[in-house]
Symmetry: C2
Subunit: 355 residues, 2 copies
Amino acid sequence: MTDLFLLGAGAFSPIEGFQGSKEVWSVARDFRLNSGLLWSIPLLLLAGEEAQAWKEGSPVLLLDEESRPVGVLHLEEKFSLSKPEYAELIFRTRDDKHPGVGWLYGAGDVALAGKVSVFPGWRPHAYDGYSSIPEETRKEIRQRGWSRVAGFQTRNPIHRAHEYVLKVALEVSDGILIHPLVGETKSDDIPADVRLRCYEALIRNYFVPERTLLALYPTWMRYAGPREAIFHALVRKNYGCSHFIVGRDHAGVGKYYGPFEAQEIFRQFPPEELGIEPIFFDQVFFCRVCGGMASNKTCAHGAHARVELSGTEVRAMLQKGILPPPEFSRAEVAQILVDSMKAPQNGSPQPSKRS
Amino acid sequence: MTDLFLLGAGAFSPIEGFQGSKEVWSVARDFRLNSGLLWSIPLLLLAGEEAQAWKEGSPVLLLDEESRPVGVLHLEEKFSLSKPEYAELIFRTRDDKHPGVGWLYGAGDVALAGKVSVFPGWRPHAYDGYSSIPEETRKEIRQRGWSRVAGFQTRNPIHRAHEYVLKVALEVSDGILIHPLVGETKSDDIPADVRLRCYEALIRNYFVPERTLLALYPTWMRYAGPREAIFHALVRKNYGCSHFIVGRDHAGVGKYYGPFEAQEIFRQFPPEELGIEPIFFDQVFFCRVCGGMASNKTCAHGAHARVELSGTEVRAMLQKGILPPPEFSRAEVAQILVDSMKAPQNGSPQPSKRS
């Protein structure tokens, strides 16, 4: 239902509703809306057998996961979708072990299309003090007088490598939008409220707050790799960004995409069609010889000089209460992660969460 | 005479000769060539009383500082220049303590204009292995397959702050052109051959050589601040750069220009007229709290956390044989500077210099 919220908020502009069969296949095959504009991942609403009773031309009440009414779909078209063909085009695989494909196969078989109306005041995955509305973020950017703004997609705590990427982007911009995905993520991801405290600590201790904006992107990961990189960029354009950071294997999962495919795909489209400029990064790490953060582009000292830890290694350290080395993670951030893992899994305090 | 060489080599394209009175004043007043194209500092040839004998329409043989013939001026116009008015427009001051104004007042009173022919093979301030010809540098850039190339103007050894600026620019580009000015500089500047050895050591030890190109820009500093920043950028476009790094007080001297005037001036001209995109940097330093290089844009820890040394302090350390701290300068670079200061001032070996 986060798609509904974002449709209503204009995050997927110029798309105003769940897409019909013609546009879904046009996006899937040619990266084009019916209008000819660029788009990369269709907005699909898949329902089960109950949808057989709903009539084209009628309104359908939409409920959230807790069965609260959140909006109305003005049903224009019902159609069935060839899921394997769709999966092949969007995810480049039909393998249901891919989480995006798994979601697709597990969803209902009836696709519903039409414009949507969202009930006012409903904000899924809301946290006090942080906006998830594109218009609000754009207004804040305008008020700060920024014209070059780099957007950063994240669903993880920000470690030194991410901090480096953000700071490089900031050096060549007026400001940065740290824009965490706070919708449904994988079950082993760090909860959004913990991540928010990490972001706050990092900004407070290691950034210039006037140059940094933290806002929310309440959505779910498709893990569609290259296509999702384009999708993430187009959405961040709607949130007011002029630039968008694309790292290695952006929005990838497992070995489904090559490490630079999510960067290469941008070259297929002329800059004026994208309307937002990607900033690409290679592998980033702390290099002991450089004595600082670097990437494959700026450092040739090789792996033996690098402080690199796998996600599994970091998780194991944090769970044991050990802070990763400062070359990998700021102590202020690592401490929040250690504390959050000590807290009881249920009943852990989330004072600022509203829904 | 380096202007002659660069004119012949196409570094000042589309300008093909020393400019006539109409174009000189058009550039000085309106930043425009007679064709309407953007330019910021006129190319002037000022001669003394001997020029009275030369006739418009005739060729004039041009000699270098050692009286060797280096080219021919096809004299089209002789005119006298109101130096105070010119100084005010170009340097924003009539003060002859300003080195650019001092040069102007000290030069002859007869301005000579016309296209030039340069005798082949003459390369002022040449060092083996390094090109100063725009066409050669462009060819090298093409062969490396770079499309985003950031140019870096320097007349000093590269310390950590410059290295940071270069590496940030490199992270968002395909490659960088380190383009030292090797013409006449101030007498207290480090000699070009010593600087070249510093650049080589830095690239070898701290850069990815395939991403770094070192070539020469044999010219003299005007110290015209904002106007010279534009001039430096337009010239680097001719050397194949898509981007140009502009730091604090670029091409400034003393207190004649504000620290960001050389950046602000770029906003007067639309990007398509410039044809090269500036990358601006604020003050850069090592911050002990960040544990790395940073700038006013990315670090708010304040002056007490910074490792900053004045040029005078660094010079004093080097002259005593003391290496500045590694947060300020790479040891490999500092050692070359210390050794060069130990060497006898005259007769110091300059094996690779050709002219």
